[in-house]
């Protein structure tokens, strides 16, 4: 997985609440058994003028300058709620988003971000709204920095705010770790658990299948 330490970039305010993963990537845009080829379908229902078309809706934030090059997204509460589809995160990542600031996230989505190199920054709604106003006042000059090492967000106008992220998530993002490899270091504990549990809850252990 790609590492994340610090990023200074254009930030796009999409201040809607309850942005669901069906909106981030509509089901009809998940066309193949693949984690790639999804950027075009990102926010398709909002980004394009009509369903199925590719004619851009000029009002949608990611179709406007300078936000076509945004790498940070700002949004409202419960961002990424709804369907578990990891395609939402793959689409955001492929399009170029590396960090999302929101007061809260859908929990499956939040986990999916961390596993794919996108930082979910949980931060107060007042901070997000303040930032959005400043971005609109100076769209071309304003830059936002997400510093994962120090857990701070700062603006090109000099202010900064701390944010919290669980240690394990932070480490996974900073180091770009493969979570399966990390867990398999504890294989002895997993096998020991299974041996204990087999005695306690034998009904859990179904017979091996004939292939």
């Amino acid at each position: 997985m790609e590492k994340f330490t610090r990023l200074t970039a254009i930030a796009a305010p999409l201040l809607r609440i309850n942005v669901d993963t069906d909106a981030i990537i509509p089901s009809r845009e998940m066309k193949r058994v693949s984690k790639t080829g999804l950027a075009e379908g990102l926010f398709a229902g909002w980004r394009y003028q009509s369903p199925g078309s590719r004619a851009e809706n000029p009002d949608f934030i990611l179709n406007r300058e300078p936000w076509r090059k945004a790498q940070i997204l700002l949004s409202g509460i419960n961002f990424g709620c709804g369907s578990s589809r990891e395609h939402a995160v793959w689409a955001l990542h492929e399009w170029g988003i590396r960090a999302i600031l929101a007061p809260s996230f859908g929990s499956i989505f939040q986990g999916n971000c961390v596993r794919n190199g996108i930082v979910p920054v949980v931060i107060d709604n007042a901070v997000i709204e303040g930032l959005a106003r400043k971005i609109e006042a100076d769209p071309h000059g304003f830059r936002l920095t997400v510093d994962l090492e120090n857990c701070r967000v700062s603006s090109s106008q000099g202010e900064s705010w701390p944010f919290t992220i669980p240690d394990a998530d932070r480490e996974m993002l900073l180091e770009g770790l493969d979570s399966i490899a990390v867990t398999l270091k504890r294989d002895a504990a997993i096998l020991a658990y299974r041996d204990r549990d087999r005695v306690r809850r034998p009904w859990i252990y179904l017979p091996a299948r004939d292939k």
């Binding site: 309850n18 509509p26 058994v33 709620c81 499956i108 394990a168």
Partner: protein, 469 residues
């Protein structure tokens, strides 16, 4: 201090404490479907990992498969065939249980897993699908995950999880006729918001819950995720044990008593403390219906469309306004009587045999209003078979409903079939998001009973007023 059911299941499944509130939890059962399981299995293959304990991993075809009679691997969704064939090939190669097309165990993942006795009280069960929380209805700790987490669970039989905060919601009192589990959960979400349960694992308790049959508990827990919760759970009781007994993958007679004795220990202790408690009096609730594009946008069938101008919070106001524009509704319009063009009964929320029985009971002797496209999709091949044995399919067909093969069908739009642009649908599903059931389709969520009453009336209707009911 006592423990909650969630504390007990957490402790019981702990492989290792990872620090910072994270735990490596043992995962008892993994379920996959062709929509997201396909990419998880393929990802695992590409990374060179194998499935540990394939005998505890299950897979079904539900999301993209066609639901019209005589179906094959071809789908209405362009490219859908690849999801089916790829999943089949990966499932066979991995040696996991596959409930393929034509297998009489096939169906919607969350309908099949309890039906087959795969989901059990006290198990940890994950699936790359957000409505996995449905199985909390049996007292399972079950939650939805992403595909990458799915790969992790398949390869290691564990997941690293942070323990959510705990909430108990007590539903007290007796439900009035015409009011169902679906109305309870929609009421909860409209009152506390679609993120009201964010960060929590929720135990549903109280006299109204104890009185619910298991399938209604599934409906309730199914929508815990629409409340933003990590999962929902109902402590197992005698009703649960009776439901589980004798199912194909459930503990057999030799081990049954031992399993039940263990399951009895799981209920929350009397002195356990939750981070948050909510109590709801159910005795006054009526049938619920949504009017917007979030499950939180809803009210009683007798209500009118609310006025965004009266909403003090700016974000909520804007979200309401967007919703009304999308739904083509003006503030003050009564919900009851709004003309509809379609009615849908199906999905992991409300497509089980008890749902279809109740719908058929109400539908008997009536006809769907002219111009309304009405569809019923049984949740599993088993549900379909049982319904046909009882003659339920005939009641649906004679009333003017289409009767389908099982699957997710038009619960969501995959690029194939939809209800059409700006068509108004009353639906027993769980999501009324923009474009969820089709481009610009306008979805009103309700119980199957309300769907039936509305289909007959040709407009959103109060099931309590249905003649002959």
């Amino acid at each position: 201090m006592g423990q909650t059911i969630i504390d007990k299941l957490w402790a019981e499944h702990t492989v290792a404490d990872l620090g910072d509130g994270a735990t490596l939890l043992y995962i008892d059962r993994i379920f996959l479907h062709e929509r997201t399981g396909s990419v998880a299995l393929k990802g695992l293959e590409t990374a060179g990992h194998t499935v540990r304990h394939p005998e505890q991993v299950f897979c079904t075809m539900d999301h993209i498969v066609d639901t019209t009679p005589g179906r094959t691997d071809d789908t209405r969704m362009p490219g859908g065939r690849e999801f089916i064939t790829s999943t089949r090939a990966s499932a066979i190669a991995a040696g996991i249980h596959l409930f393929d097309l034509g297998d009489d165990r096939q169906g919607i993942v969350h309908v099949v897993s309890p039906e087959q006795g795969i989901a059990l009280p006290g198990v940890t069960l994950v699936c790359p699908d957000s409505h996995t929380c449905t199985l909390g209805g049996l007292g399972a700790l079950a939650w939805g995950i992403g595909s990458t987490e799915g790969e992790h669970a398949l390869a290691t039989k564990t997941l690293a999880v942070r323990k959510p905060r705990s909430m108990r919601i007590r539903f007290e009192g007796q439900l009035q006729p015409g009011v169902y589990a679906k109305d309870l959960i929609l009421h909860l979400i409209s009152r506390f918001g679609a993120s009201g349960g964010s960060g929590y694992a929720i135990e549903f308790a109280g006299s109204a819950i104890r009185a619910l049959p298991i399938e209604a508990r599934f409906t309730l827990c199914n929508m815990a995720v629409e409340f933003g919760a990590w999962t929902g759970i109902v402590a197992p009781d005698e009703t649960t044990f009776e439901y589980v007994r004798g199912r194909p993958f459930a503990p057999g007679p030799a081990i049954w008593d031992q399993a039940v004795a263990h399951w009895r220990t799981l209920a929350t202790d009397a002195d356990a403390v939750f981070d948050r408690e909510i109590e709801i009096d159910c005795s006054q609730l009526g049938p619920h219906i949504t009017w917007g594009t979030s499950p939180q946008h809803g009210g009683n069938i007798g209500d009118a469309v609310p006025d965004p101008a009266a909403e003090p919070d700016q974000n909520r106001r804007q979200s309401m306004q967007r919703a009304l524009d999308y739904m083509g509704l003006a503030p003050g319009t009564p919900l009851e009587g709004l003309p509809i063009s379609a009615a849908f009964i199906g999905s992991c929320t409300n497509s089980r045999i008890s749902d279809l029985r109740e719908a058929a009971r109400l539908l008997r002797g009536h006809r769907v209003a002219a111009g309304v496209k009405a569809i019923c999709v049984p949740g599993s091949s088993q549900v379909k078979k049982a319904a046909e044995a009882e003659g339920i399919d005939r009641i649906f067909r004679e009333a003017g409903f289409e009767w389908r093969e099982s699957g997710c069908s038009m619960c969501f739009y995959a690029g194939g079939e939809s209800f059409g642009l700006e068509e108004r649908v009353v639906s027993s599903t769980n999501r009324n998001f923009e474009n969820r059931q089709g481009p610009r389709t306008r979805t009103h969520l309700a119980s199957p009973a309300t769907v039936v009453a509305s289909a007959i009336a040709g407009s959103l209707a109060d099931v309590r007023k249905l003649k002959g009911n």
